[in-house]
């Protein structure tokens, strides 16, 4: 799997101002007199902005779930607080670990793109490790659900289980989206068409999934 990249991928253009749209362009640079000043554009490429916008939206969704949980847990006497399946703690370690491995891959590619190194040092291996850990996490979540179901603890058993399934399934679906993103990064990397902004956006999304998971774990674990 180890690949040494010998030629620079076509990706550095991200940092340069491009003509017209695509990566921003010049802003506010044309004074009333009409004279043009060419100044390097500092605005981020769309993927960098877009990922923050998407994360804001995902945050709102989980905030809505959270407020529903708080209202529901606080308002009714029928809440039976659940014991989390122990495998979830293992999954937590896996998803946090995957953030580290992705960060290693990202830094290696970034250093290479920034011209610090002549070739990226085995970044692909770390990307594959990240992908495997991600798959392992999803598999671990599926095991957790199966374990609960085998104990007869289903969606409608108690409202605490309803929330558990809703939150973990919603999170797992978002993680699966991140896995798709990783596959895409790997394929673009192999085609030498990976952009720095794509890599950064995917890794931000992936880290966010890790943070979101820790948040959900605490939310489900503690009794308000």
């Amino acid at each position: 799997m180890a690949t040494v990249v010998h030629e620079p991928p076509k990706m550095d253009v991200d940092r340069l101002p491009s003509q017209g749209s695509g990566n921003g362009g010049w802003r506010n640079l044309v004074p009333a007199s009409g004279g043009l000043r060419k100044v390097q554009d500092a605005s981020p490429p769309p993927a960098s902005t877009g990922i923050w916008v998407a994360l804001a939206s995902i945050t709102m969704t989980f905030a809505a779930f959270t407020s529903a949980l708080v209202v529901r847990q606080g308002g009714a006497p029928d809440w039976q607080h659940m014991t989390l399946p122990p495998i979830l703690y293992l999954n937590t370690v896996v998803i946090i670990g995957s953030s580290f491995t992705l960060e290693i891959a990202r830094r290696r590619i970034a250093a290479f793109m920034g011209g610090l190194h002549e070739h990226a040092d085995k970044p692909l291996r770390w990307l594959y490790i990240t992908l495997s850990l991600g798959l392992l996490f999803v598999a671990g979540q599926i095991l957790a659900w199966r374990e609960l179901v085998s104990q007869g603890l289903r969606f409608a058993t108690n409202i605490s289980y309803s929330f558990f399934y809703v939150l973990t399934i919603a999170h797992a679906l978002h993680v699966s989206g991140g896995l798709g993103g990783l596959v895409r990064v790997i394929s673009k990397f192999n085609n030498r068409t990976l952009k720095r902004s794509t890599l950064d956006a995917t890794s931000r999304y992936w880290h966010f999934m890790g943070v979101l998971w820790v948040y959900l774990l605490v939310l489900l674990w503690m009794k308000l």
Partner: protein, 593 residues
């Protein structure tokens, strides 16, 4: 939402029919698809309103052929009470989601936001394409519910739990109908989230050379602000409908409380919170009405500026006021719940920002009026609809003073006063924005002019007709007429039946008038006079490109922007307007402020 790459912006012009007109990545085609969807939806929604009005005015009137739509709902072509509620629910849902959100925001925004910012396309065209097709799938789900055995849901567009959550036992349409409704809304949310993502990123990152944020036209600002609202509001509605679906099909108890008895059977649910649904729904629902109206404000400002031949008194104040509306809209949603059983202290707390939100609304209206002062107003169909929008917005806005106060809401809650209020301020006003935008931008979108005489006829009949329909709603509400009733049985509402008959006649006539618009639209599309590039002598970027715009919007030469968006009647200039792309110097106190 992992796919963030921007490479597809530079997609070449497609050649096959399917990639060009159906699964197109081009924001202009997607904008037109949204417009077409809104047009189909508005026809369905309007026909439903005719059926409802016929029934309210003339309860025993047999509507020929209605039994074909639903055998149970209209035996002998006479509408049953539950079928009335089912049609009413569909009318509300179709209009709010698939017309008032799609047309002014998704349709015009998709077509013109990238052009007005000077971009070649949206940054994530695949998401943009999915945005439309997911929304369209949502529409199919909704329409499908007409054809399931017990018909569409009867729960109203607000779909209050537990009526919506306990299943078929609570009434016809509450089984499959509700599930289809909820899936439809979930799809719609996903579609609009994808759209909002593109709109925000386009505005922030895709502007052309020289296009600072303050140089964006007011319409672009309105779409930008709306997309931020969409991003947060739909992200809350989606989890809410997911929980609703689960209550419905998985037997969970998010919204259904314990010990509810229907047909002498105790329901199996326990402990759910009825008010939770209302909080989640209205946290989306109030921003939603601003999602419907803010694009209209932007479009109308844009149209009026072009036709007044002057910029608004203050570009910034209008932008800040629209922003203030957006922020406040999240803090006022509780005014829908004054008598809902929510803590009465919260009612007072929600009442205050609701009264405060009238301040930015008033500023916007006053800036419009102050800008009309001393202008050089041109009358054409687009500007007529723009002026009509202002009149409607004022009329619908002032009734908000009543509904913002919990004490008066005791009297007016759930009456026709509310129906009159929101129809004028958000439905009719927004539709005037859509009409104005259509007459104004049709030449750019299709390359042909619309017929002005038919357009003016359409305006006059619609303007007068809309007032004849919706003003009497307020009188009904003041007299205590409760909404969502399909018939007026032997009670205090009987004396109001003549008013209902009057509204019905006005609604049928005004509805029929819309055929003029549809005829004009279709005729002009194929046989209208060819449109020049800049028929209204506008200044913003959509008028500096060809008509209709080429695949990448600006052809070989990307625009460079030198000015604020609205340089009309500039002293000492060579003509009465200076386009944003014109390098002609402007020596004005307003420029670059």
């Amino acid at each position: 939402m992992h796919d963030m790459s921007a490479h597809a912006v530079h997609h070449g012009a497609p050649t096959s029919f399917i990639r060009k007109h159906i699964f197109s990545l081009d924001h202009k085609v997607i904008g037109k698809q949204y417009y077409a969807l809104a047009l189909v939806a508005v026809v369905v929604g309007m026909v439903l309103s005719w059926l409802m009005r016929l029934h309210l005015g003339f309860a025993n009137f047999a509507i020929p052929g209605l039994h074909l739509l639903s055998k149970n709902g209209a035996p002998g072509d006479i509408m049953t009470p539950e079928y009335y509620l089912q049609l009413m629910t569909m009318h509300g849902t179709i209009m709010v989601f698939f017309v008032l959100t799609t047309a002014p925001f998704a349709a015009f925004g998709n077509f013109f936001l990238p052009i007005q910012t000077g971009a070649e396309d949206m940054p994530f065209p695949h998401f943009n394409m999915m945005s439309f097709w997911v929304t369209f799938t949502g529409f199919l789900f909704l329409v499908a519910s007409f054809f399931v055995s017990d018909g569409p849901t009867l729960g109203g567009w607000t779909q209050y739990a537990p009526l919506s959550a306990v299943g078929a036992v609570s009434g016809p349409g509450q089984g499959t109908g509700v599930v289809l409704w909820a899936f439809s809304i979930a799809f719609f949310c996903v579609g609009q989230l994808f759209g909002s993502l593109n709109f925000i990123t386009t505005t922030l990152d895709m502007r052309c050379k020289g296009m600072s944020l303050m140089r964006l036209p007011l319409s672009a600002w309105a779409w930008f602000i709306t997309s931020i609202m969409g991003l947060t509001a739909f992200a809350v509605l989606m989890p809410a409908v997911i929980l609703l679906i689960l209550d419905h099909v998985a037997g969970t108890s998010f919204f259904v409380s314990s010990n509810l008895v229907i047909n002498d059977q105790v329901l199996p649910h326990s402990g759910g919170s009825t008010l939770l649904w209302q909080h989640l729904f209205w946290f989306f629902g109030h921003p939603e009405v601003y999602i419907a109206i803010i694009p209209g404000m932007g479009i109308v400002s844009h149209i009026l500026i072009t036709n007044m031949r002057r910029p608004m008194l203050s570009h910034r104040v209008l932008i800040y006021s629209m922003g203030a509306l957006a922020v406040l809209s999240y803090m006022v949603y509780g005014h829908h719940m004054f008598v809902s059983g929510m803590n009465p202290v919260s009612s007072l707390a929600f009442s205050f920002p609701t009264l405060v939100i009238t301040i930015p609304s008033t500023i916007i209206v006053l800036i419009w009026l102050g800008s009309l002062y001393g202008s050089k107003l041109r009358i054409n169909t687009a500007s007529l609809f723009g002026l009509g929008f202002i009149s409607m917005f004022i009329s619908g806005g002032v009734s908000g003073f009543f509904l913002a106060q919990p004490s008066i809401d005791i009297l007016l809650h759930a009456t026709y006063f509310v129906v009159g209020h929101f129809h004028l301020v958000m439905a009719v006003a927004a539709i005037f924005g859509i009409f104005g935008g259509t007459y104004f931008w049709f030449p750019k979108m299709t390359g042909r002019m619309m017929n002005e005489s038919l357009g003016k006829l359409h305006f006059w009949l619609t303007f007068v007709g809309a007032y004849l329909i919706f003003m009497p709603f307020h009188y009904l509400g003041i007299a205590g007429n409760v909404r969502r009733y399909q018939a007026f049985v032997d009670d205090y509402l009987i004396p109001l039946i003549p008013v209902h008959k009057f509204i019905t006649v006005a609604a049928l006539a005004t509805g029929a008038v819309q055929l003029i618009f549809i005829y004009n639209l279709i005729y002009s599309r194929f046989w209208g006079a060819p449109a020049p590039d800049n028929p209204w002598q506008g200044t913003s970027l959509e008028w500096s490109t060809a008509t209709p715009p080429p695949h990448n919007n600006f052809g070989d030469k990307m625009p460079v922007v030198y000015h604020d968006p609205y340089q009309y009647s500039v002293e000492g200039a060579s003509s009465d307007f200076i386009m944003q792309t014109s390098p002609e110097p402007v020596h004005s106190a307003d420029e670059e402020k």
